[in-house]
Symmetry: C2
Subunit: 240 residues, 2 copies
Amino acid sequence: MPRAATESPKGGSRRRAALSREVIIEAALNIGSKEGGSALTFSRLGKELGADPTSVYRHFRDKDELVVALTDRMVTESVERMAGVEPDAVGWREWLRRVAHSIRSVYLDRPAIAVLAASRTAASKSETESVERIIGVLHGAGLPVVEAAEVYRALVDLTLAFTQYSAAWSLLDPEYQSRDEQAWAVGYATLPAERFPLVHASAARLLELTRDDAAVFEYTLGLFLDGVQARLAGRQGSAT
Amino acid sequence: MPRAATESPKGGSRRRAALSREVIIEAALNIGSKEGGSALTFSRLGKELGADPTSVYRHFRDKDELVVALTDRMVTESVERMAGVEPDAVGWREWLRRVAHSIRSVYLDRPAIAVLAASRTAASKSETESVERIIGVLHGAGLPVVEAAEVYRALVDLTLAFTQYSAAWSLLDPEYQSRDEQAWAVGYATLPAERFPLVHASAARLLELTRDDAAVFEYTLGLFLDGVQARLAGRQGSAT
DNA sequence: GCGCCCCTGTCAATGGCATTGACAACGTGA
DNA sequence: TCACGTTGTCAATGCCATTGACAGGGGCGC
């Protein structure tokens, strides 16, 4: 393992910064957020860094190791985004909602990375701190510790799964995306109202939701939190 | 030389069935469910069919078109699995739970295909019928039509998102899987109990859930349905 | 100060992938 | 009979991750 790269901003060298894990991660994040950056590949990475693509292998054993490092970074960023928000100030429900949204938005800012990172875990330090905090909020709201842990896990997986789902879709070749949209549009246009009265009655809304991942996520999250709330109320009721 | 792929054109030909959309789809489903079938590629498909990989292009414009056809097939299969189950017999909640599970199990039987198909849609005929049925059940339970449509969409997306999430993980190179598991195990093993009392108290359960996608899905689905139930109850209350 | 070796970066090559265009066999309808 | 469309094959293209051989340079033991 290479030791931490010695800092290099010395001299007036116009050479590019020496490669290091940090620099490479930054370049990868950059690619992920570019409009054209539909995929993270070593050759794009090389171009971004102004270096040979295979240089990256001197700092990461393989692509997966890079992905894990990126995962770590994204998680940290999500956590930081919640740093200033106090659960007590907004209530547990709103706070959890914001946690979910901060994760989603950090990932969706870089779909090309999200699609690789969402199902991985880095188990970083800041993640552990965040887990403690989330479980704490749920526990404080009235859930036993183990149940709080279960809800935490469900919430995070729900968020990451939806996020990956959205990212995968947004990376799809536009030509293929339109195949799906065509399929829906045609399907709804041609359906006999007598045989499908309910679909017909809600077709407009269904079509709207098809194009709006964010709304579906918001709605699902709302129902999920309602479920938590109901479980909390039930517990309170029986405890009384 | 183009050797006789079909020993004899007609008559007693048993070399292999002539290619057709149907035959190719069947072969693809086969690959997806094989243990070794970690990915669906044209060359595997060719081997499975005993034909040149590029033959497939005579029946599908590109891989995406094949994926859409497979999606159609998987959806149909999921719907069929629910054919005999009457909503009234088991109650709306249990019925919806089973719908979600039937989708999940059909897809997870073929992870290699699930990962490609889960975020696509074919808008097939049987899918439309199923949508009508699901919305009908929710409407029958007491939800206004549009809200029923919203819940339908949320439920299906929740299920497909989790399914894709699980499939992606199960397809991951075992070497990479163990990187994640190592990360968690190490993370939990080294955490100072004084600083992370809640994580420490629930570490066993958390580790368990890390290895058990199905349990997390079940739990999340339960909370989601609790949310629907609560919304239903609220509606009933206000209607009184 | 000298030389050696490891760290870093480069280059060429490998094997897998989807996709394309040229070509060959076959059967059909004019 | 013959031209043509359909189906299958083959070779080639271009992108991808990964590897092994090679080269310069800086630090460390001497």
